[in-house]
């Protein structure tokens, strides 16, 4: 009988939703406030951008990297910058900037001394340690290849792109990530490339069908643009890389428009897999088959497309174990008329698009999303989700189509039952204020257990947001040093605290064109200590640590355990004679 079946269906639905709940449902407590503290940080920087953005290349830049370049334990900040087409053709450059953390809530511009002001038409920035000296190096993705800055350990960087064998990369690079895919202890490098685009043969603004948006003349693309292949560079261990893209099977033969790339072991088999978000096309999920070979299982895994089998404008990528399953789910930001996609990792390379049922999709349908991150903004032990937005067409402001160029940001609080609560309107003016956001990075800038959010805006100054008005929750964080890879990229830490089991991973890249801090942070709610820490090191080794007091930062060395931080941080080399 249909009616009876229907009732049974509803009952089953209720049962299943209950079953999805793992912890207790979050109390509807006060909403954490994100205060804009940019002014007090004394960060003065301006991302250049043409007002009209007549070309797509003028809409895409804006990466931010939290990189503790001097290894003093305080995250520093690097902002990329990009000229517009006219500037570039006239030979003018846009300065990127490195800000040193003064340990007192302020930052000092050290760009000049560091020598990282003019890498290129800079899009994104990621950190890694390609020469494994313990000093984090900086890779900048450019409109026209990449620039690799070797960290000299004395506050300066040297452009070693050519010596490293990366100068042959001349495509429009966007996403990049370091990761040791072959387990040899050396960080390899993946670079995703966007469109094949020639500044001397530019598609005319508004001229063609792909240059119109709801009847408005706008920049051309990305629809209709031809893409460029991606590259995997194997670290040779002598300061150079070899392009192994084709033999590894990750060269993107379809030339899709690659944006964010990120390494993680999605199926927990001990080998690093690779996720690549492609704009307007299917995403790649390259399963690491071992022996340096990968197979794209994006379609099979359910991460290639949206829930209806449609390709989305995949831009920023966040990974996080928001359900405490020990598996990293994926959150991808998209263009307007699409939704922020949450792909729950169900294990064994099976993902489920739960954007709707998780409460995420609806609030995001009208926004153009970029940088995003899972982060425990209120330190309650459950990862929340944050994203910045901003359109690509300034012309929408004059078109009366209900879309604005500047858009508010988004904050979703984890409800501990597989769903999120949209608190964007209640989280303070910093979140609500419309902006043209692009890059986003997360890190505890001031070593006080609160994770700041650093946003690079396409138009104008960046933003630094600091959580406030949150309950006095406890926290703990870890700075790791591997026995082989000194930055311990993709090391995993599982923290057990009472009933809470949280897993995090050290990662290079992610979000959109950005790099969050390497230190792994865990909110602990009301717990004043943790019961156990289990670390799976990139070498394959595991380590278990016992009870640790909360509200502290710990440095952990593979094999040795908790050590003074000076033990794992490199010493500044003596100045050259």
């Amino acid at each position: 009988m249909p009616f009876k079946r229907h009732i049974i269906g509803l009952i089953l639905l209720g049962i299943c939703l209950q079953a999805q709940r793992k912890g207790t449902v979050a109390p509807a407590g006060p909403v954490p406030q994100l205060a804009d503290i940019t002014a007090s940080t004394k960060i003065r920087f301006r991302h250049l951008s043409s007002p009209d953005k007549k070309y797509i290349v003028e809409s895409m830049s804006g990466g931010v990297a939290l990189i503790d370049y001097d290894r003093d334990g305080w995250p520093d900040i690097y902002f990329t910058n990009a000229p517009d087409v006219d500037m570039q053709l006239a030979g003018k450059k846009a300065p990127s900037a490195l800000f040193h953390n003064n340990h007192d809530g302020t930052f000092a511009d050290v760009t000049g001394k560091a020598g990282v002001a003019y890498p290129c038409w800079a899009n994104g920035a990621v950190a890694g340690d390609f020469n494994n000296d313990g000093w984090p190096d900086l890779l900048v993705t450019c409109f026209g290849g990449v620039v690799l800055y070797r960290n000299n350990g004395n506050g300066t960087f040297t452009d070693v792109t050519k010596q490293a064998g990366l100068a042959a990369d001349t495509f429009w690079a966007m996403g990049a990530a370091f990761g040791d895919y072959d387990g040899d202890g050396l960080e390899d490098l993946f670079v995703s490339h966007y469109a094949a685009y020639d500044l001397h043969d530019l598609p005319a603004f508004g001229a063609m069908v792909n240059c119109q948006y709801y009847g408005i003349k706008v920049q051309c693309g990305p629809a209709g643009l031809k893409g460029s292949p991606d590259n995997l560079y194997h670290n040779n261990g002598d300061g150079t890389f070899t392009d192994v893209s084709k033999q590894a099977g990750v060269h993107d033969p379809d030339n899709l428009l690659g944006l964010t790339a990120i390494w993680s072991d999605f199926n927990n088999d001990g080998k690093l897999d690779l996720f690549v978000a492609n704009d307007g096309a299917n995403n790649y999920l390259y399963r690491n088959d071992g022996s340096g070979r990968f197979t794209d299982v994006g379609y099979q895994a359910g991460v290639a497309l949206d829930e209806n089998g449609k390709a989305l404008a995949n831009m920023g990528v966040a990974l996080g174990d928001y359900l405490h399953t020990g598996r990293f789910s994926i959150a991808i930001t998209h263009f307007s008329d699409q939704y922020l996609q949450v792909l729950r990792n169900d294990g064994e390379m099976n993902f489920n698009d739960i954007s709707g049922v998780s409460g995420i999709a609806h609030s995001t349908l009208h926004l153009v999303g970029w940088g995003d991150a899972f982060c425990d903004i209120d330190n309650d032990g459950w990862l929340d989700l944050i994203a910045v937005n901003g359109h690509v067409y300034p012309q929408v402001d004059d078109a009366n189509i209900g879309v604005r160029f500047r858009e508010p940001s988004l904050l979703f609080l984890n409800q501990r039952d597989g769903t999120f609560r949209d608190v964007s309107d209640q989280a303070g003016s910093a979140v609500k204020l419309p902006r043209v956001g692009r890059g986003l990075a997360i890190g505890d800038l001031f070593n006080d257990g609160l994770q700041e959010v650093v946003v690079e805006n396409l138009d104008g100054e960046p933003s630094v947001w600091r959580p406030q008005a949150i309950p006095p929750h406890h926290w703990i964080n870890f700075e790791l040093a591997g026995s082989r890879d000194k930055l311990a990229l993709n090391a995993r830490v599982k923290v057990t605290t009472g009933k809470l089991e949280q897993t995090e991973e050290v990662r290079s890249g992610g979000s959109y064109l950005s790099q969050s801090g390497f230190r792994l942070h865990f909110g602990l709610g009301d717990y004043q200590r943790i019961d156990k820490v289990e670390i799976r090191w990139p070498s394959g080794g595991t380590q278990v640590l016992g009870r640790l007091e909360a509200d502290r930062s710990y440095c952990v060395q593979e094999g040795a355990g908790i050590v003074p931080c000076t033990t794992i941080r490199p010493k500044t080399p003596p100045p050259p004679q």
Binding site: P2, H6, G9, L10, L12, L13, G14, C16, L17, A19, Q20, D201, P203, A207, M208, V209, N210, C211, Q212, Y214, G215, C220, G221, A223, G224, L225, Y299, Q300, A301, G302, L305, E307, N308, G309, K310, S336, D337, Y339, N350, N352, D353, I354, G356, V357, S358, G359, A361, H362, L365, H366, N400, I401, G402, V403, T419
Partner: protein, 366 residues
């Protein structure tokens, strides 16, 4: 001594055969004329002379010979079809229609049949018998699905029907709710969404119970770029259902809106209502299946998706989701098959998209 006419005709027929085998119809025509002058009842002579003259483009001289042949032997369907075409081309549509209608169902040569059918469609269209024209073009589409002329003809007939309806409505009730609804549809198709919404609102103001008006308004609102307008779609679908609780499409679309909001329980209910009203709605079944998957009831989703594909084998979403579910269920071969089907239809879809874009504007560089 005079030659026996039958013997003479026999000799002439032999020569005609030879010329025709040599692809020299112009040499055969005088011989056929001689045959029919010797024997006006010679059906082969009359028919062949008519056909050869037809293909020479001499319809005026061809027609009497074909008519004579048909008087002698009425089941010469090919000849009758050609006669009908000749009559049409010489300004005699009434007789042309009669000959083509009689011959068309009996023709076995596919090429002639399609040509005759298309000529008949033109006659119907010119005579404003659009319903007959549409029915016949549908038949031709079945006979020759690869023939690109037929969909174009069908499209033209449909367009004419649309404008006829528009004209009729303008004449009968230019200020009616129906007229505003029709205008809304036209504007929406042209991408003038704000104007379309205004027309639908006016239609509803004039007649709040106008069938379909709330649904069409909801469709425009749902696809708007404006979040505020978007939010109004749900109310309009509900209004459509108040006017007509059996409006299957409104149940389905409302379910889609609710699932996007995360209200899967109500979406589940509404999808089921839609399917109960239209058991072959592939989209509703897919929507319900996605709702089930999202709420961790994937095993229930598999038969729904399979059923959706029986109803519409080109349903890309169903192929995609089914491939994923099969894989999880360990049905690797089935998963691969569904993935291949998905990719096949995706390619077709992408090609169509490119064609539309090319048609929509210049694309020399992008």
């Amino acid at each position: 001594m005079a030659q026996d006419p039958a013997q003479k005709i026999g000799e002439l027929e032999t020569q005609v055969q030879k010329h025709l085998q040599e692809q020299k119809p112009q040499l055969a025509i005088p011989l056929l004329r001689e045959i029919v002058s010797l024997d006006a009842r010679n059906v082969n002579g009359q028919a062949n002379l008519g056909v050869l003259l037809f293909f020479q483009g001499d319809y005026t001289e061809a027609m009497p010979h074909m008519r004579t042949a048909l008087q002698i032997q009425p089941d010469l369907w090919r000849v009758q079809a050609l006669l009908g075409i000749a009559e049409k081309r010489t300004g005699n549509p009434k007789e042309a229609q009669s000959d083509l209608e009689r011959s068309f169902p009996n023709l076995d040569d596919p090429k002639i049949r399609i040509e005759a059918g298309l000529e008949l469609v033109e006659i119907y269209t010119a005579g404003s018998h659009l319903d007959k024209a549409l029915a016949l073009s549908g038949k031709l589409q079945e006979l020759a699905p690869q023939n690109s002329r037929i969909p174009l003809v069908t499209y033209e007939i449909s367009r004419q029907m649309m404008y006829h309806s528009l004209l009729s409505l303008m004449m009968v009730a230019p200020d009616s709710a129906e007229m505003h609804m029709l205008m809304g549809g036209e504007l929406g198709r042209q991408g003038e969404h704000a104007a379309a919404i205004a027309q639908y609102r006016e239609a509803i103001r004039l007649n709040p119970k106008l069938p379909g008006a709330h649904f069409e308004l909801a469709e425009q609102l749902r696809t708007s770029t404006d979040a505020a307008l978007n939010a109004q779609a749900e109310g309009e679908y509900k209004a459509a259902l108040q006017v007509n609780p059996y409006d299957e499409l409104s149940w389905r679309q409302l379910a889609g809106v609710l699932s996007a909001k995360g209200d899967y329980q109500t979406a589940d209910d509404h999808y089921r209502k839609a399917i109960a009203l239209q058991p072959r709605d592939s989209e509703a079944k897919t929507g319900l299946a996605i709702t089930l998957i999202s709420t961790n009831r994937s095993s229930e989703a598999i038969p729904l998706l399979e059923s959706a594909l029986e109803d519409d084998p080109s349903n890309m979403a169903a192929h995609y989701r089914l491939s994923i579910l099969y894989r999880r269920a360990g049905r690797t071969a089935d998963a691969q098959r569904e993935l291949e089907s998905f990719q096949h239809y995706k390619e077709v879809n992408d090609k169509l998209g490119k064609v539309f874009k090319q048609l929509a504007g210049p694309s020399d560089r992008l």
